[in-house]
């Protein structure tokens, strides 16, 4: 690990930035690769870094989630993993059309009535023509009625298509939500399974730090340090705590590089 700040450089497993200006937040940002006043060259942090990579007194921690991530960082897997993967693939295969839909409604006119009217008019035209009378008005009426009937049929077909499409789209969305629910349930089960697998080393680590706290009710800072010790955080851990006698002791306890800051 190489840390550069304000013309100075720290190399190795320990960087003691106390009494230099960067806040632990800025250092954590630098490790993530965000804009920051200092630069940290280190392996790209894994997912565990987001949970326990920045340890400070005001931190929050979703303990069970972090423990599951730590278990995964140690190469442990949950028995639900393959089923989750299968369901995710199934879910991702569902394609949805998110474009705007044009609603189309069926006309109010009764098609049977219109059809009868067209037939009547046709009969009248034929009768007039057979008698050699002027059928032009009747013919115009017939044309108008036939046009209305045809427009109505087109609109009815469009409305039917709209209904079918909407229903198909909603069926797909419903199927996707069911899959999402099943995935979420399995993920919860997987998290519990992973927490169980890592429970003992975690409890030992908490006990080593503070024998008076209940491991699953430990303050976030204590829990985060314990998880940093049992997990494989990859990136360095940024510490803003005086719980260890020295930065070297902290690095030794966690078992990886640390960067110590004042706050």
């Amino acid at each position: 690990m190489i840390v550069r700040y304000d013309g100075r450089t720290w190399c190795g497993a320990v960087a003691d930035l106390r009494e230099h200006a960067p806040t632990s937040r800025a250092v954590a940002a630098a490790i993530r690769g965000d804009d920051a006043p200092c630069r940290v060259h280190c392996p790209v942090p894994g997912p565990l870094f987001d949970h326990v990579g920045h340890v400070h007194p005001e931190m929050g921690l979703r303990l069970r989630t972090a423990l599951a991530v730590a278990a995964r960082s140690r190469g442990l897997t949950a028995p639900q993993a393959s089923e989750i993967e299968r369901l995710r693939a199934e879910r991702d295969r569902i394609t949805l059309d998110d474009g705007h839909q044009h609603r189309s409604d069926a006309p109010d006119t009764d098609p049977t009535e219109l059809r009868e009217r067209v037939a009547t008019l046709r009969g009248r035209v034929q009768a007039l023509e057979a008698n050699g009378e002027d059928a032009s008005d009747a013919r115009a009426e017939l044309r108008a009625a036939a046009a209305t009937l045809s427009e109505g049929q087109t609109a009815r077909i469009a409305a039917e298509e709209y209904r079918t499409q909407t229903r198909t789209d909603r069926d797909r969305r419903e199927r996707r939500m069911r899959l999402d629910d099943r995935i979420a349930n399995l993920e919860r089960d997987a998290r519990s399974a992973l927490v169980e697998q890592i429970r003992e080393p975690y409890e030992r680590a908490v006990f080593a730090l503070d024998s008076t706290v209940e491991p699953f009710d430990a303050p976030p800072l204590v829990a985060a340090l314990a998880i940093g010790r049992i997990g494989r955080p990859r990136g360095p851990v940024v510490l803003a705590t005086d719980r260890f006698p020295s930065p070297a002791a902290a690095a030794d306890w966690i078992g990886g590089p640390v960067i110590c800051c004042d706050e």
Binding site: L96, D98, Q101, D169, R170, R173, E174, R176, M177, D180, D181, A184
Partner: protein
Amino acid sequence: MFLVITYSRSARTSLRNITRAHEETTVRHLGRAALLAGTEFGAFQALRLREKHGRDVQIERVEPFVPEDVPAEVREAAATYEARETATIPYRQFASGRDLPDPGTLREQDV
């Protein structure tokens, strides 16, 4: 009233938040769906969901139902069939031979 049906986990969560925050506008909450009051505020909440979650939200306008809204023969058919003696007889069979509409006719008639 507005029937709001959600089709994603996030839309369902938003709907739950709305029905919890606005009990006076919520006529009934049923899991991933809710019946909201037919007021401008009910419409406002439904539209907010629609803006946020797009087609993962279905909004329908619904009306209270009274049996008198439908033809008498339909009501009679329902009452007679539910009062039948043989529980296992399907309606189609039950209707034939009696003065009751057959299911095909019922399906074709909008009310």
